[in-house]
Symmetry: none
Subunit: 203 residues, 4 copies
DNA sequence: GATGAATGAGGGTTCATTCAT
DNA sequence: TATGAATGAACCCTCATTCAT
């Protein structure tokens, strides 16, 4: 990697770290430059203003999240999951999604919070994320229907419940900061899966 | 109401409006004062600094949310719901909760975002909210078990699914800004309830 | 004393206390009002502005200092000192002056410092104090010459040395905050008086 | 000298000028910046806050005063004064000290006034100045005893009188603003020296 | 006569941004 | 290219002062 690319990467990493910690408005360009080990003047050579840096961060976040959180691994799942029961398929999805959220939470946090305060950002983000998200959602629904003989609306309901479950864990851990042991998380997931299993008469 | 009380109320209302719109760090005391129709000097007569104003807002938000969102109306529900089927009870809960979230979203948004950036605030908020929340959750579980003959862990799973569903709607509408028609919301809720109904063999 | 006079007195006392402690510029009208147990609005009913209050304080300080520090007790001394030796006369003067400085230091401090920053004040103060001071000085010189047979210029030298001695103690104690025990002070005074005694061949 | 050093020096000089003229509390950072020909923002790049700037000024003042006022030139005096009579030695000291006070009065004034209002500053200053001062005082006493055959306590008395004399001139000229002609000053010094000469039977 | 309530003007301080080197 | 140096604009906050009650 060229030196200038390295510097740019360093700036973005620093920005991600600090913005996710303090929020965009409360993070200063001085802090970011210091964290990146460069001068403020240099920072502005790479990004014409603070807003541009934010957008770059958001872009990277979007790419990261879309590629890694939403889609790619799902494809793997689908192949691997050919012989799985529906509930096992969902368990795999939930667990993997949780793991991915874990690894990318800084980025996700920045996106979710900063789009609140920046309408053009919000439009951009939703324009990109929502279709990807819906596509993934549709895929899960289709697989569910293939694995069971439930109706479309049931499949939609279950998918929504899975999303809700993921969101709930996200909130508990990252927003409220409530730590749960792996055991507890597992138990809660099983509770949820039990409900779903019952509903699809899997057992 | 005394004049000074009116002024204080006006300041707090303005703060809530602007902070929920722009975030605490990006909201200036000048903006708040202007919105409240007073001078900045007056604002600082009422609140010794910006941080104190935020805490007052958070306090009010906590009281509001705890009293109105979490508990009170639930009690009403329980009385009224004596003869309701489990699924009908859950539908009522979901709808009322959604309505309450709707009415109090500004405050909720401020709490959820600002505790990210202020540890002492986070501790304060979680110390107050989490127990109340768990209590409510436990209540719902108990009622569910009374109305059906499901196990404790099933009840827990269902309750969690309900919470997840609420969170998902919250996210879609307020965080992502995806407007849904009432029809769509109703349909989605029915999908979810159908899954749950199946799981408790209600029909 | 009428209530309004009492209030005025209370304000001035509070002002003296606070201004001598923090300086005029750093003392706020809010502090003074609080210390006096009244509202700021009331303070401005008694003194049209902060500067006016300072001038009143200075006036009072001048009167107090001139009457009590500079002249009055000196007259007592002179009567009482008819039969004292010159050195004993000087010792009495030094001791009494030190005591008076002790009791009035707050006021003196305000005068000495604040005239630095306010030319019209300085003119006023010097116009009043300097003549009084010179008169007292002349008086001491005359008495010295009466009690000994030294020349005018010697008398002037001795008086100046006495003033210098007082100033030195003033500085040590109040400006530099160096506490000395009574013993030490006495010893130092005796050292000084010994020099003077030698010079007038008193022994 | 580097540009940044120049700027820093300019700021400090401006601060000294203005603080000695108006006092610390009444001097604004805007004034200092303007006097230094820079923006306020630049001032705060060099000194993290107003208080820090004051301390730097005080530090410089302490160094200046200790090196140039208290000690260094005294050593020169001592060498040069080997063959001087005691009174001539004292005259030299007084005159040189007066000259040095003259050149450094701004700094001295700031120290003497501002330590009144800042306890930690007072401690710092007295901790540094007092020992140096006492050392110098002791030196003068020793020289006096070498040049004459007076007792220790006489030497102490004379030294104290010299200090008092300096203080008196300091007060008259700088605090009260009473200008004296060189003639008058000389005469007054001679008066004082005459008293001392008599006391040590120099003539 | 006293005060609760309000504020314009200004204070110290920080910020994103620029530019000469 | 990278940065040392600088800054206008804005921020949070305080102050002496006013005025209706």
């Amino acid at each position: 990697m060229k030196k200038s690319e390295k510097t740019k990467k360093k700036i973005i990493e620093s920005a991600i770290k600090l913005i996710s910690q303090y929020g965009y408005a409360a993070t200063t360009t001085a802090q970011i430059a210091k964290e990146a080990g460069i001068s403020e003047a240099t920072l502005f050579k790479y990004f014409k203003d603070k807003e541009t840096l934010l957008r770059e961060v958001i872009n990277i976040a979007l790419i990261q999240i879309i590629n890694f959180v939403a889609l790619s691994p799902l494809k793997e799942n689908i192949k691997k999951s050919k012989d799985l029961k529906a509930s096992e398929f969902l368990r795999t999805i939930i667990n993997e999604r949780l793991e991915l959220l874990d690894k990318n939470f800084d980025l996700l946090k920045i996106i979710l919070i900063e789009i609140q305060y920046n309408d053009s950002l919000k439009k951009e983000v939703t324009k990109v994320m929502v279709p990807k998200f819906c596509k993934t959602k549709g895929l899960v629904e289709k697989i569910l229907m293939r694995k069971t003989d439930i109706s479309k609306s049931m499949a939609k309901g279950i998918t929504r419940l899975v999303i809700g479950t993921l969101l709930t864990f996200l909130y508990q851990k990252y927003i409220l900061g409530l730590e749960m042991s792996n055991e507890e998380v597992k138990e809660e997931i099983e509770n949820v899966l039990n409900v779903i299993k019952k509903s699809i008469e899997e057992e």
